[in-house]
């Protein structure tokens, strides 16, 4: 179909800049990953392949605790956000337009619009009040804060999935004697499941990546991996941080690849 002598889509320079762009995007990340396997303690001089820094990170109690905390917070926040986002998506798509729908959209997407640092400061102030009033300083603050900013990320794919779903399927179920609950259980839920999985995965990744809000909300000794790394950056850095970064990176890429193929199968 394409004309061999004159390619209409080609604009000179575009491909060159694009390739440069991909190189620039990946070069630092690749460097970081490569030097995490360096035997020496330099991040510039290559002294041979080794898993030394992974062992160092693995044996570091602070890293262990931060890693576990990160996973606990991300899993809890993603679970909460996904459940709430699923309910909200059902409420805003399955019942037709209603007064206030725009308001609900705006409120749910609000964390995407307010700069993180502002939310972080607001939560710092608010949670400080509660901490003083109740004396409780546990992980619940972090989980609540993470769940809140994960809600829009979980909501978007679930809502997209529901909007692509024919309303007449649920009508057909009701017509065939399914109560509203049975309709949900047998028709809506199975059909929206891929959206829920996608939403949960995005929420998990988003929570795992957060630095700013965690940095402000956490109580003493509640570092997650990213805030632990941020703290390390102030000191002399060793490839240990590269190793932690590479591990986190691998987890993210793994989840994204799963997401990519999940999407692909659906289309």
């Amino acid at each position: 179909m394409a004309d061999r002598t004159f390619e209409v889509r080609r604009l000179p320079g575009m491909a060159a800049i694009a390739i440069t762009c991909f190189v620039i995007l990946y070069a630092p990340i690749v460097t970081l990953v490569v030097y995490s396997f360096n035997a020496g303690s330099s991040v510039a001089l290559w002294e041979g392949l080794s898993l030394r820094w992974y062992a160092v990170a693995w044996d570091n109690v602070a890293v262990q605790e931060a890693a576990i905390r990160s996973l606990v917070v991300a899993a809890s926040a993603a679970a909460i956000a996904t459940v709430l986002a699923t309910l909200a998506a059902l409420g805003t798509t399955r019942t037709g337009p209603f007064p206030g729908r725009m308001t609900i959209y705006t409120l749910i997407n609000q964390p995407l619009m307010v700069p993180e640092i502002v939310t972080a400061v607001a939560l710092l102030i608010f949670f400080a009040m509660i901490k003083v009033a109740t004396g409780y300083t546990g992980l619940a603050y972090l989980i609540a804060a993470h769940a809140a900013f994960c809600v829009p990320f979980a909501y978007l794919p679930i809502r997209a999935r529901l909007e692509g779903m024919d309303l007449s399927l649920e009508r057909a179920a009701a017509d065939l004697y399914a109560t509203p609950f049975a309709t949900f259980r047998h028709i809506t839920l199975p059909l929206m499941a891929p959206g829920i999985v996608a939403g949960a995965m995005l929420a998990f990744v988003i929570s795992l990546d957060d630095v700013v809000i965690t940095e402000f909300v956490k109580s003493a000794g509640q570092d997650t991996l990213p805030t632990y790394m941020l703290g390390q950056l102030r000191r002399a850095i060793s490839p240990e941080v590269n190793a932690i970064s590479t591990a986190l990176l691998a987890l993210t890429v793994l989840l994204l690849t799963a997401f990519f193929f999940l999407n692909r199968k659906r289309n």
């Binding site: 620039i24 609000q110 640092i117 809600v151």
Partner: protein
């Protein structure tokens, strides 16, 4: 057809309608409650804090005061009580604004060709290229900033290579400069520019380009008169998506800028850390929020104007 002048609902219609509305709100309520407590509710407290007096060590004293807002732009000399513009703050505002605008510009210059490139790949390759853009997009921002830091550090790979090649005889100080912050921000926010431009380019009908060439347009004409105007909504969206978080950036300037290249986000943090002036921090936060809101309103206006389909 008959247009009923009087509209009263039958009891059945009314019941069905209110049940529907009630269900919608009921289902959305749990999410709204969480967001109220852990997202937008506390913003109101910040607003309140910006109007009270600072406490001695931290926190606030609950009395009405314009001190916080006053200190956003002015300082009062401790000794002679004279009022002058807060130069430190002004230079941070200026740095935030210039860095954000430059970041947007640089990501646009690199992002547009990248999006164009992906959109013109054969259909089967496109998901893969897109995936290559999404990986950095979802990768932890701190990790990406850290990766840049390692490359440009004095002991980093760039300096080491240059030194070994004898091009320089002592490391270039690249880290902790205005330039390093700009580089880092452009690097971390680039995917945010590419994705929306690609989204509008994907729907672009390349037969229009053929029609353009058919009507004697040059390549530059094609870009200027056909491609750019049609993908403009994507460009506007991408610019907002880069500009807004740039303005509130915290991690990147902190890691790559050191103490001398603070941006608004770092200034805010300072008020809740060492500076301990919560009302000032609150006022600065609200200021940032207002600027972002203005940018978003501008965007919504522009988007509505651009999109002929409403």
């Amino acid at each position: 057809m008959a247009r009923p002048s009087l509209r009263t609902r039958s009891p059945e219609e009314q019941a069905a309608r209110s049940a529907r509305i009630r269900a919608s709100w009921l289902l959305s309520t749990p999410a709204l409650i969480l967001l109220t407590f852990a997202a937008f509710g506390p913003l109101l407290i910040v607003l309140a804090y910006s109007f009270v007096a600072p406490g001695e060590y931290s926190g606030v004293v609950w009395e009405l005061s314009g001190q916080g807002w006053f200190e956003v732009l002015f300082t009062r000399d401790i000794f002679d009580d004279t009022v002058s513009l807060a130069q430190a703050h002004l230079s941070i505002f200026w740095r935030s604004a210039s860095l954000s605008l430059l970041t947007t510009l640089i990501t646009l210059i690199f992002g547009f060709p990248t999006a164009y490139f992906i959109a013109t790949r054969p259909e089967r390759q496109r998901p893969l290229w897109l995936f290559l853009i999404t990986i950095p997009f979802w990768t932890n921002l701190l990790i990406r900033t850290f990766a840049i830091m390692e490359v440009i550090r004095n002991e980093g790979i760039v300096n080491t290579v240059l030194l070994n090649l004898g091009i320089i005889d002592q490391p270039l100080q690249m880290l902790y400069t205005y330039g390093s912050v700009l580089l880092g921000m452009a690097y971390v926010y680039l995917p945010l520019m590419v994705l929306p431009i690609y989204a509008s380019m994907e729907r672009f009908d390349f037969r229009l380009v053929e029609a353009g060439y058919d009507l004697y347009a040059s390549r530059l004409d094609i870009l200027r008169l056909i491609v750019l105007p049609i993908v403009k909504p994507g460009i506007v969206a991408g610019s907002i998506l880069v500009f807004v978080p740039s303005l509130g950036a915290y991690v990147t300037p902190r890691v790559l800028g050191g103490g001398n290249n603070m941006m608004l986000g770092n200034l805010i943090e300072l008020q809740f850390g060492q500076g301990r002036n919560w009302p000032l921090g609150a006022a600065l936060s609200i200021t940032l929020l207002i600027i972002v809101a203005c940018a978003l309103v501008f965007y919504v206006r522009a988007a509505n104007r651009e999109d002929p389909h409403g």
